[in-house]
């Protein structure tokens, strides 16, 4: 319980650090020095000091979206375990709450983007809706596969019960399948490279950035911080599913979880460095493949 609270505090403080690690990894591969690890913190603090400017075509939806979005992602964070460290709060069925809190966050961003009436934002919103509709299936079915194996519907219970039920790395086909599916979902949901290039600011090709073009000031800071937290949550879920290790001491569990988070960030940075962005019409295929991996995991789990 105490460790769960510590995880929440740790996530609140260090979620933007993941983006820093990813960017430094990419810079390393590109032979550059790269921005500071704390660049996203600077950006967020800069934005927090600024006022927001609202277009006259926007309505109350545009103004209420960023706070609701941040609240939804904070709610999801409370129920997210880190590796074998259980979440602060948990109950049977909290995996649905986490998945759909993230869904609410996405819905608010998409509504705000549509509310601006801008053609580019509408394009970004439509793409985001398409990708996330496919990613949601892959995520949910992957979690259900682990749930079917461990006979438990709580994210926090997965790691402990998976260990007890014999779900260890080389011995079972479920783990690689679920890990691969969750990694693809992580990349798609956080607008990382094979799906969306976070560096590009060409409106025609981008997805996430296109949706937040009209936000500024505090609103943009909320969205940036919310996105960083979402990255943290999905990485933590990936770590919890892919690494059901259980050390004897809670401190060791927690430290292993944090180390695995850094490894996930390094992995994402590596993938971004060696891969090109997929053509937009090819991205659904990759997500559908991730969904197939999840279905396969369910099949293996339920045999």
């Amino acid at each position: 319980m105490r460790w769960g609270l510590l995880h929440v505090l740790f996530a609140l403080v260090s979620a933007p650090l993941l983006a820093g690690v990813i960017n430094r990894t990419k810079a390393f591969f590109g032979g550059r020095h790269g921005p500071s690890f704390f660049q996203l913190y600077y950006d967020i603090f800069k934005l927090l000091r600024k006022d927001a400017v609202y277009s006259r075509t926007t309505s109350w939806i545009f103004r209420t979206a960023p706070p609701i979005e941040l609240a939804a992602v904070l709610l999801a964070l409370l129920f997210t375990p880190l590796g074998s460290t259980a979440a602060w709060l948990c109950f049977q069925g909290d995996l649905l709450l986490v998945v759909y809190a993230l869904g609410l966050m996405r819905f608010m961003i998409i509504s705000a983007a549509l509310d601006t009436g801008s053609a580019f934002e509408g394009m970004g919103a439509s793409r985001e809706a398409q990708l996330s509709a496919l990613a949601e299936v892959a995520l949910l079915v992957a979690l259900l596969a682990v749930a079917a194996f461990t006979k438990s519907f709580s994210l926090s219970a997965f790691a402990a019960q998976a260990w007890a039920a014999g779900l260890v790395w080389p011995a079972n086909a479920i783990l690689p399948l679920v890990s691969a599916a969750l990694l693809v979902v992580l990349l798609a949901e956080n607008a990382r490279l094979p799906f969306d290039d976070p560096n590009t600011h060409l409106e025609l090709t981008m997805i996430h950035e296109a949706m937040i073009l009209d936000h500024c000031g505090v609103d943009l800071a909320f969205i940036e911080y919310g996105s960083a937290l979402k990255m943290w949550i999905l990485s933590a879920i990936l770590v919890s599913m892919a690494l059901p290790l259980r050390a004897s001491s809670s401190l060791l569990n927690f430290a292993t979880g944090l180390g695995a988070m850094v490894i996930v960030a390094l992995l994402v940075g590596y993938i971004e460095s060696v891969m090109a962005r997929l053509r937009l019409i090819r991205t659904p295929q990759l997500l559908v493949t991730a969904g197939v991996l999840s279905f396969l995991a369910v099949m293996v789990a339920m045999r």
């Binding site: 080389p170 011995a171 079972n172 086909a173 690689p176 399948l177 659904p284 295929q285 559908v288 493949t289 969904g291 197939v292 991996l293 279905f295 396969l296 099949m299 293996v300 045999r303």
Partner: protein
């Protein structure tokens, strides 16, 4: 051993999905060859090892299916100069989705047809059905004659796997007969594709229906 077998079976399913999702014919041929190799490895992990005579027969069958037949198809590919299937009758994303449907169907059918051995072998029946259905699906959903030959090979892989799953009375002789048939068929099909290509400059089978004599 059981864990390795499980991973190989999952790999078989993934190879089927790769066949459904890729447009490059070279990659398709490679996938079919790899699939035959994986199926050839499966009986070695079984609960009881086959006798040396059967082992030799299996090795020969695997060799033919993972080297000779893909080699024949590759030659047809080279002669016709076709690199990829550009306009399939059913798109690749939709094919993968259909494949998921077929997988669910095979899973449901497999639950009715339980093997007496239990354990990982429970997965063998669904995988067998799925491989055969994938082969049939490739035959109807693709336009190029080469992909249809590949679908035929995948179907044969499925039948061979069926024989392994139900190897009760050593049906290897029957399977060797089937293999010879397939070998002859692929040989004939390779020549036919070559002739079709030389006559009409393409191997799109759906355009054959417009011919008049």
């Amino acid at each position: 051993m059981q864990a390795l077998k499980e991973i190989l079976i999952v790999l078989l399913i993934l190879l089927n999905f790769r066949l459904l999702g890729t447009s490059r014919l070279g990659a398709c041929v490679q996938t079919v060859a790899l699939q035959a190799l994986v199926i050839g490895l499966l009986p070695l992990l079984g609960p009881n090892l086959p006798t040396p005579w059967i082992m030799a027969m299996m090795a020969a069958a695997t060799l033919v299916k993972s080297v000779v037949l893909p080699g024949l198809v590759r030659r047809a590919l080279r002669e016709t100069g076709v690199v990829r299937e550009l306009e399939p009758l059913m798109g690749y994303t939709l094919s993968i989705l259909t494949g998921t449907g077929l997988l669910v169907l095979s899973h449901l059918a497999g639950r009715k047809l339980q093997l007496p051995t239990g354990g990982v072998d429970q997965l063998l029946v669904p995988v067998t059905l799925f491989t055969m259905l994938c082969g049939l699906f490739l035959i109807i959903a693709r336009r190029k004659a080469i992909t249809q030959v590949l679908g035929f090979l995948v179907l044969e892989n499925g039948i061979y796997l069926f024989g392994i799953a139900f190897a009760v009375h050593e049906p290897w002789l029957v399977q060797t007969g089937v293999l010879l048939d397939v070998l002859a068929a692929v040989f004939v099909m390779g020549i036919t594709i070559h002739q079709i290509n030389r006559e009409f400059d393409h191997i799109d089978t759906d355009r054959f229906s417009t011919f008049k004599d």
